[in-house]
Subunit: 222 residues, 3 copies
């Protein structure tokens, strides 16, 4: 934490205010936009197909979250989100062959986006007075929404349903974020811890190919 | 009706108040959650994939209904819905091999969920002052939403589009529910009748493989 | 424009009021409903499957637009939309073999719907005080929403992602609509110009099979 304290003013670590949520939300949007754009390039879409896929994947998690909370999607009121996705698309188009050579780059980005969105989703749900269990699940849904929509559009059974260690880290991350004291103190700290824990569990699961044990009747059936 | 009157206090049969709607809505959520979870086990998802699919299928109908009405999805304000879906998932995981041996069990459950959701969807739409034709169609959409989303996620062309005797019973059920007098008297009775009629038509269609006559140019083409 | 002025009263061309938006919106709903119904007949759905697909495709663009703006979907408050879709379904069922012989009829209809929805989507977004870049993108999303949902349900990778000259005309159309002076004068004129430009670019792209140049690393890879 001392390294972190060196770059982030300490008082920022104490509160998790709307500005902080917005910052993490924009970071998650960039990451999912990039993941969507790269998936689009790989699926041989043209430049505008890539942009559309980046917009859909980058915004889906947040839009689903806001619709489920019942507030107007914040994303379309704030030009920053579209700017961030346009940037992510340019990065994907410019850096594609290089990004593609880095094995697993998209999966790592996806893990980062998962961590950021599950934490901001849970925090926003709490701010709108949802109970703790709903906030945890809503955080996880915010995190996995973008990837699910990407897979649906590209006609794959969503990865999140295939690999338990996709939903589990999201639930861990949103649980930590929700555990922040109601006073709002240290909310930012909990958010960073939650996002990091989600990211770490997800990356570890990919690295060592961890998965939940199969259900007994499935392994018997197989 | 005398049997029904024996178990349900008569005054409850006269009004279809929010509590009554909530009860039927929870029952439909359980049934669709179970249907989603069983489909997930059969598709060889792991435990969390099964849970996610149960959540999505259990909540999709109600969320689509609330979004189309333009009110915040009630589901995420009330922990009962998530508890009911968690229960349905546990039942599916524990009872899978046994439930699987019962032929057509899921289809019958699906028919019950269809009946419950088309009736509550239509009643809620009327409560929010939608006109009768919209309320009927919205009821049907609430009923078929969960199954459509399940089929989309598992990459099947939605059953509801293949078999006319899926949308027809839903329209019958929501039409009966909407026929209740505006005074609110006997609303509960109409709801039960609508749900039962929808269920009966749907089950009969499955039992005797009824379907709408093919369109003329299709049969010629085939 | 003199021809246009001859059929449309001149004062109508000056303002783009809610009635004008509603008229174009209904026209777009008819066109997308017809496109959805014809796709349903071709996919060998039965009569009710065809109707359901017409409803979903006809309403999806407007519902997505309203959800993203954060207002209750207007569609379900106004029986005219459902009446228009029912009419489109009847036209599709009655005229199917004849409509099918006209090569590309659906694609041309789709182009018309695209033009109408991108213009009304952008105008409504401006009316709800979204900024210009959001309004342009929201207009394009309104236009492509119906077709994307149709392709998802029929399990095709959305055409809009395959062909850049689907999103590009939508963006052109909504940009022209948004360029209307804030005073509201001539808004109707800009809307017609935008819809026509979108339609013309889309039809030209289909006629001469125009497409965006492939991304360099894709053509290398292929």
């Amino acid at each position: 934490m001392s390294l972190l304290a060196a770059v982030v003013p300490l008082n920022l670590l104490r509160t998790f205010d709307p500005t902080a949520i917005l910052t993490l939300d924009l970071a998650g949007t960039f990451v999912f936009g990039l993941s969507g754009a790269l998936a689009g390039v790989r699926a041989r879409l043209d430049a505008f197909g890539v942009l559309v896929l980046a917009v859909v994947v980058g915004l889906a998690g947040g839009v689903i979250r806001d619709v489920l909370i019942g507030r107007p999607p914040a994303t379309f009121r704030d030009p920053a989100f579209l700017a961030v996705i346009a940037g992510a698309t340019l990065v994907a188009l410019a850096g594609f062959p290089w990004l593609e050579r880095m094995r697993g780059a998209i999966e790592v980005l996806d893990a980062a986006g998962l961590g950021l969105f599950c934490v901001t989703g849970a925090a926003i749900a709490r701010r709108y007075r949802l109970e703790i269990p709903e906030a945890i699940i809503l955080g996880a849904i915010s995190g996995i929404g973008g990837g699910m929509v990407r897979d649906l559009i590209l006609r794959e059974v969503p990865h999140v349903l295939r690999s338990g260690l996709y939903a589990v880290p999201a639930l861990i991350g949103s649980s930590i974020a929700v555990a922040a004291p109601a006073s709002g103190d240290h909310g930012w700290l909990y958010a960073l811890l939650g996002a990091s824990a989600c990211f770490a569990v997800r990356v570890a699961a990919m690295r060592w190919q961890l998965s939940l044990p199969q259900l007994p009747h499935q392994s018997r059936a197989g």
